[in-house]
């Protein structure tokens, strides 16, 4: 870790490449993870499903050790971990797998409007196939209301799917409370844990979670692997999406990628051991950045709950400055924008809109992700860089000018286009 910091520090001081502040998009592999993976590409290359020889046993042992690490970080049993290609596949498998398995008895799913696209898209797919889906709204702070959740569950509901941590605004949903409601009502509780695992303490038993999607590359592991936690007692059954040799207890066929499994396991081990210290450090960096920007810029708004969010996430609207224009101005830092111009559509982030943000405020947001290799020096550089860009663009902004003149922008009749 210290090596990595040193390398990045050197690069950034000369700024041969931008400072990486997009840790919710992905994370670099921890060098310790790469180290653990390497032998499994070359000398320990066996197929973990080969039952008859040393190479297979060696690979199987490594995979099972990794499975144990993944189970431990969420308080599960290793037998409840199904390896997949990533959280997208896990979410597809959880939603479609459970829905199709129980479709004779139940046909209703409850989820949330701010879920990741892969959950929403899987739900749309199920709707087209005759299922009913309820999309719960969120409050201004990004959290669902428990009474609305409870009211949405019917005797036809098979599953509730609520993400643990939102990928854009980093807010943490009340998992234990949701789990308690689901258990009481006798419906399965699936949570997309891609942004939560390794960042906040999770316990599938204490929280009554029945299925949880996990991603390796969000926690300094390799891309291309994830897992689905599937509870065994009381048993959750699902229909597989990928059929074949019956690996992963028949829920996900295909030869396991031993090096990726090993890297995933090592990433979980490191995350679990370092979580308390890292959470503290990242929270301090996050507060430093927010405070630094707010001290020097007016009209800066934090999107999502200020307290109930993961340590490494900030989502900030800089009023009167358009997000994509701002991204171009902060080219020394790699961040992401809630403004839609970055995508092909002209609609701003549906997550920010769901908070009740006006479209113009949703257009002015930046998501800043802080992680394991972010240094205080980088945060200080980012503060200065952001302040400079926002100030410059506000001087260029007709909306800022109107605001300075005391004109309410909402009072103007804008043309639609």
């Amino acid at each position: 870790m210290s090596d990595m910091t040193a390398i990045q520090g050197t690069q950034n001081s000369g700024l041969t490449q931008p400072i990486y502040l997009d840790y919710q998009a992905t994370t670099p592999c921890d060098p310790r993870v790469v180290e653990a993976m390497l032998p499994y590409f070359t000398e320990r290359f066996g197929n973990p499903h080969s039952r008859n020889h040393y190479y297979g046993w060696e690979a199987e042992e490594a995979v099972e050790k990794a499975r144990e690490e993944i189970a431990t970080i969420i308080g599960a049993d290793p037998k409840e971990i199904v390896f997949t290609s990533g959280a997208t596949e896990s979410n597809n498998l959880a939603l479609k797998g459970v829905a199709y398995f129980y479709r004779e008895k139940k046909n209703h799913i409850v989820t949330v409007v701010t879920e990741h696209k892969c959950v929403l898209d899987s739900c749309r797919h199920l709707e087209q196939d005759g299922f009913q889906v309820t999309y719960l709204p969120v409050q201004k702070n990004g959290l669902i209301r428990l009474d609305e959740l409870e009211a949405a569950i019917t005797d036809k509901t098979v599953m509730v799917s609520v993400m643990a941590v939102n990928n854009e605004i980093g807010v943490i949903q009340p998992l234990a409370e949701i789990g308690a409601i689901c258990r009481k009502k006798g419906v399965f509780f699936h949570t997309d844990g891609a942004q939560a695992v390794g960042k906040i303490p999770l316990d599938v038993n204490a929280m009554n979670i029945d299925l949880m999607s996990i991603s390796a590359h969000k926690i300094y592991g390799p891309k291309g692997i994830g897992a689905l936690y599937v509870r065994r007692r009381p048993r959750v059954r699902l229909q597989s999406l990928i059929d074949g040799g019956g690996q992963e207890r028949g829920m996900r066929s295909g030869t396991l990628a031993t090096p990726l499994c090993v890297g995933f396991g090592e990433a979980c081990r490191i995350a679990r051991e370092e979580m308390p210290a890292e959470a503290k450090r990242l929270t301090a960096l996050r507060e430093r950045l927010l405070k630094g920007v707010r001290e020097r810029l007016p009209e800066v708004y934090l999107n999502g709950d200020a307290e109930l969010r993961i340590p490494g996430n900030l989502n900030i609207s800089f009023a009167f400055v358009e997000g994509e224009g701002l991204m171009m101005g902060v080219k020394d830092i790699a961040v992401s924008s809630g403004s839609a111009c970055t995508s092909a559509s002209l609609e701003p982030s549906y997550v920010l809109r769901a908070l009740g943000l006006d479209a113009e405020m949703a257009h002015t947001s930046l998501r800043i992700g802080i992680g394991r290799f972010t240094t205080e020096k980088e945060i200080d550089y980012a503060i200065g860089h952001i302040v400079e860009a926002v100030s410059r663009l506000r001087e260029l902004s007709p909306l800022w000018e109107m605001h300075q003149e005391g004109i309410d922008i909402k009072s103007i009749q804008w043309a639609d286009h």
Binding site: V321, E322, C341, L396, S397, P398, W400, W414, H417
Partner: protein
Amino acid sequence: MSYSEKVIDHYEHPRNVGSFQKSDGGVGTGLVGAPACGDVMKLQIKVSAEGIIEDAKFKTFGCGSAIASSSLVTEWVKGKTLDEAAKIKNTEIAQHLALPPVKIHCSVLAEDAIKAAIADYKKKNGLEEDAAQ
């Protein structure tokens, strides 16, 4: 998304940023776009007694392509008559800046801004609008 060199140049060194006094009789102001859509352009022209645009200024809320499009048109309209300026087409702007298809609307907005500024000037000065185009 990668930007053309010309877009980056206008974004980093925008030409003619600022505002004229709106109430000034020789000034025409065009305000187009909408905050909710992520682009607002304000283009102002200062017209001489002979009907020549002698100066122009802009302010834009928007992406790099929107800023570049409006910066560019402030350069283009200067020295032109109102009729000449009104003939600037969004396709010329898009072509000059090498805008990708998803950014064509920025050039459309810049063309609208010129037309709106001219219309405002004409209205203020009691000049007859040309027959509807």
